[in-house]
Every structure is written in C-alpha cells, then in structure tokens.
C-alpha cells in the first residue's frame, strides 16, 4: 500500500506557492500525496492542489493561521499527525515552513532533516539527499524514530506536474486558545520590486560585493532588461544595504534555477552557491581569478565588470539590431 506523504501547502502573492506544487509532484511519485492548507487562500487553492496530485486536502480557512505565526499551525498539524500518522510531512524551506518544522520537531521529539534536495521512502523509512555545505557535498541522511518523518525541502528540487485527483477536502477545526495567539502578525509591508520576479526568470543577473555600491546596479538592470531577465544579489550586497532583501539569492534568500545566471562581482561563497548552483548556464565576471565561483561557471571572464558588462550590453544591442 502506498504510504501517505503530506505536503504543507503555502500561499504567497494570492496563490499556492510553486514549491508546494513541486513537493506534491515528488509526494505523488513516492506515495499517496495529501496536502494541508491552513488560513485564508484563494477560492481555487484546494482545486490547484488536487490538480497537482493531492488526493485529499486538509483545510481550515480560519484567519488565526494568517494573523498568528507558527503556533496555531503547529498545533493543528501536530493534531493531524497524531490522528492520521502519515509517513512523511514535507515543508518548504520558506519562512513559515522552517518555523513550523522547527516547532513540530521539538514538540513531537522527532527531529527533522533540513535542506532536502530529494528523498526515497521505503517501509516508512526515509533516505534524504542533502546538497550540504553549499552543495559542495551531497550527503544522505535518515531519521531513526518511528513516527512521521519531517523534511524541509529546498525550492526548485522537483518539477511541478499536473496529476489531476478528484477534489476531496476534509475540513479541520481551527486551532483555538490564547496560548497559540502569541506571535501576532500585525502588518505586512510590501516592498515594491521592479521587473520580472526572480523565481520564474529565465535569466538572472546578480551582483555582489564587487558592485561596490547601489548605483552600480543600474548596469545590471540594463543587462537584465536586454536579456528579459531579473536582477538578483548576493548576501554581501544585501547586507551592505545596496539592494533590498527580496533580491537576495542564496541559502538565506531565494533559490533560482534560470537558464542563464550572471554572477557579477560575486566570489561564490557557500551561502550564495546553494541558491543558484543548479542554473543551466553560469556566466561569471570577477577580478579575482581564484574566486570559487569560476569553478561553477560555464563561461568565466577574469576582469573588471565595469568594463566587461558595458561592452556586453553594447554588443547585445548591436546584435539585436543587426
């Protein structure tokens, strides 16, 4: 009998996140996929989950899950786990996903595996593949306790698939009690971003410490625009305050997998590599020939990006018009 694998589905920008659908694709491949969806969501959210492989959706639309972080969701999911004992619970390596797994792993005294890139399931026993240390290693881990295995899954690890299931929604009672209303989400502030979103972009042009300042990101924007891509940044550039956090690519930021990734003035720290290493083509410009990023590059130029990028832009314009 197929083992049951739960996916903790999340909503962002008013739709089910791509990572939720990626996890459903893997879950349906390995066993019987079901999803949990807590908090307000668009009307077709459960349908979307069913369409991508969820044979059942545990659902509660109560606003408590939106207005109070982590604790209500952990309470409900822990209750569901106790009742249904799925083999595996998958959560995205997102803000709420990581917080939820952290809480559940302590609450259920079962531990968890983070940064999972792939996994196998045999008779309730899980073997997870982890691209560790910025994917310079590829390790496998297991969880030795007997209950539900908690896995935190890296975005872009699987391809979402259409795998239509009849819609079966099981309503879940809302988590109640003041003890769960401790972490109050008072306000969401949206920082405007320009251009296409990083997650889905076919081309990503990223800058790092070598950009030396905020203004210099203008040439990256110009290059991105010419290539129809989005602009990203390394943690160094974000920490320096040159660009907003929403642009950060890496372990702590976004994971991207474009066809072409430009790493400009980025040395290739472990933190950054894990967010972009699986890009199809990596093109690098760096002054330092020893920078680790060159080891991952399909095409690398040792040189001054402030000379090379403008020339590239000119060249692209020229070839476009010819």
């Amino acid at each position: 009998m197929a083992e049951t694998i739960w996916v903790y589905a999340e909503v962002s920008d008013d739709r089910i996140t791509t990572t939720s659908l990626e996890m459903l694709a893997k879950a349906s491949e390995v066993g019987k996929a079901e999803a949990i969806l807590l908090g307000p969501a668009p009307d077709d959210a459960a349908q979307t989950l069913a369409k991508h492989g969820a044979s059942k959706v545990y659902r509660c639309a109560d606003a408590v899950y939106r207005d109070y972080l982590t604790l209500p969701a952990a309470e409900s999911v822990a209750g569901l786990i106790a009742q249904y004992k799925p083999a595996v619970l998958l959560c995205a390596s997102s803000y709420s996903g990581r917080d939820l797994i952290a809480n559940l792993s302590a609450r259920l005294d079962c531990g968890a595996i983070t940064d999972v890139g792939d996994f196998e399931l045999t008779d309730g026993s899980v073997v997870a593949t982890i691209p560790a240390l910025g994917a310079s290693y590829q390790n496998t881990s297991t969880l030795v306790h007997s209950g539900t295995k908690l896995l935190v899954v890296r975005p872009k690890s699987f391809e979402p698939k259409i795998n239509e299931q009849p819609l079966a929604v099981e309503e879940v009672p809302a988590a109640a009690g003041d003890a769960l209303r401790k972490v109050h989400m008072k306000e969401r502030v949206v920082v405007k971003r320009e251009g296409p979103s990083l997650e889905g972009a076919k081309v990503v042009v990223s800058g790092g410490r070598g950009l030396k300042g905020e203004e210099q990101f203008a040439i990256l924007r110009e290059l991105a625009e010419l290539m129809g891509g989005a602009v990203g940044a390394s943690r160094a550039a974000v920490d320096a305050g040159w660009v907003p956090y929403a642009m950060q690519i890496g372990q702590t930021g976004k994971t991207v997998k474009p066809d072409i990734y430009f790493a400009l003035g980025i040395s290739g720290a472990v933190q950054h590599l894990s967010g972009m290493k699986t890009s199809k083509y990596i093109i690098t410009i760096n002054k330092d020939a020893e920078a680790p990023i060159f080891q991952y590059s399909d095409f690398g130029v040792v040189g001054d990006l402030f000379k090379v990028v403008p020339q590239l832009i000119e060249e692209l314009k020229k070839r476009k018009s010819s």
Binding site: A106, T114, L133, S136, N139, T140, D259, Q271, F294
Partner: protein, 259 residues
C-alpha cells in the same frame, strides 16, 4: 532586561569546510575558529538592547575547546558571562539534541529575551532557534531585521518574500536575527582586557540534566548515512579580459543559442 544570546563558534570564514569520511562530521580539529558572524550580530543586538534598557547579556554556546576563542571575542564585545556546553559525549548531536542542550543551559539563567541567529554560518540548518523556543515554551519571532522592546512588549520587522512583516509578542520571547541586522562592533582593548576576568562556565550534558540517551550520536534522530561529492559540473571556459571580454560573453551566448 536580561538577554541570553545563543550562538556558535565556527571554522573561520577563510576555511573551506570539509567533512570527515569516518565520523561524517565537519572537520574542526586544527582549523582556526571564530565567533560566527551571525552569532556576533545576535550578540550586538543583545548589547544594544541592554545598553538602552539595562541588564546583562549572557552567551550560551556549544562546541569543542576550539570555541573558547569565539567566546572570548563575545565577552570582549561586552557580553557579561558565558556558558560553554563542552562535552565529548554531545559530539554528533543533531539539531534537536543541540536545542535540548542549549534550552537546558538557558533554563539555568534568568532571562527576558533569547536572541539567536536564524542559522549558523557553517551548517545552515536554520531550525535550532525554533526548537529552543518550543522547548522553553516561549514565542518564536524569527527572521528579524529589526527588534524593538517596549516594557514587556516586543516587536520585530520580519523578512518576508514580499518585503517585511511587523510581528509582535510579549516577553519572555525568542528572536532569531536575520543576517545583516547590524554591523557587529569590534572588541576594543578595554573590552579585551575585561574579557579575561569574565566567567566562562563550562557545563556538560550531565550538569544540565539532559539524559545521555538524548544527546550526541546516540540521541540524534537524524543520522547521516553517507557523505559524498555531487557530480562535477563540466569545466567551463575561462578567459582573461583583454578588452574583448564583453564580446566573448556575447559569443558564448550566441553559441548556446540564447541570442
């Protein structure tokens, strides 16, 4: 207000971290160590809060004897005292076993606020703080880019996909700082001298009352089965810019048929 900072001492940023084929753990022996820059940011937040509101900052860390250098650094920054969980039997602990030890050490202290980094700069698991909060029964406020304390109220700006969220709670609470929350201060000579007299309390799992079967490799729920290297990326082309670098990239783009 008393603050406990939980942070790690890790191989210095100049070190390429390698794994030991036998123990499947990070090679820490003979490697220079430093206070994790993310832990230093947590220390800095603790110091700024107590400088404004009064109280002391205690550092709680777990690690081998190599951690001492990083603990001294935190003390020199201004931390009042430290607990160092130092015990051979805890080697091989997974995230939860680590959280149990740290939570037990924090319980020995009087605190209003626990500050952690969102993740350590060596392992990047990113869940230990949440586990500690649950074990202590205090609310977790995570991915903080700014912390404000007013009486027993605490608010943070929490990173989000779209920007940031304003998240509120009451003390006692745990905050996990996002990287870049601040620029940690460098220890000054006076601080470095004062640090020499400060207490580093060394404690074992037994001292903390955490049962032996809950820690180390024996207590770890997560077991590393194999370590290996991912398939190598095929070596790419590399050129030095001699005035043609931009054109060469354009040629490459043409070669892979994107332009």
């Amino acid at each position: 207000m008393n603050v406990v900072v939980c942070g790690k001492v890790i191989p210095a940023s100049t070190v390429t971290i390698e794994l030991d084929g036998n123990t499947k753990r990070m090679i820490r022996k003979g490697v220079p160590h430093e206070l994790d820059p993310m832990a230093a940011s947590a220390v800095e937040e603790g110091l700024r809060l107590t400088e404004k509101l009064g109280g002391a900052v205690t550092l709680v860390t777990m690690g081998t004897s190599d951690a001492t250098i990083g603990i001294r650094n935190a003390l020199a920054m201004g931390v009042t005292s430290a607990i160092h969980v130092l015990d051979d039997t805890v080697a091989g602990s997974d995230t939860l076993a680590t959280a149990k030890l740290l939570a037990a050490a924090i319980k020995k202290l009087e605190f209003d606020l626990v500050i952690c980094a969102t993740e350590a700069g060596d392992s990047y698991a990113g869940i230990v703080h949440g586990q500690i909060a649950q074990l202590l029964g205090i609310p977790p406020l995570t991915f903080a880019r700014e912390i404000t304390v007013d009486g027993n109220k605490i608010a943070i700006k929490r990173q989000s996909e779209a920007g940031f969220d304003v998240v509120q709670s009451t003390l006692p609470a745990l905050v996990a700082c996002a990287s870049g929350i601040n620029e940690p201060r460098y220890p000054q000579l006076k601080g470095i001298m004062a640090a020499k007299k400060k207490e580093i309390k060394v404690m074992t799992a037994a001292d903390l009352g955490v049962p032996a079967d809950q820690v180390g490799e024996k207590g770890a729920r997560e077991k590393v089965l194999t370590i290996g290297r991912p398939p190598k990326r095929e070596a790419g082309k590399m050129v030095t810019d001699e005035g043609e670098g931009g054109k060469q990239i354009a040629d490459f783009l043409a070669e892979i048929k994107v332009i």
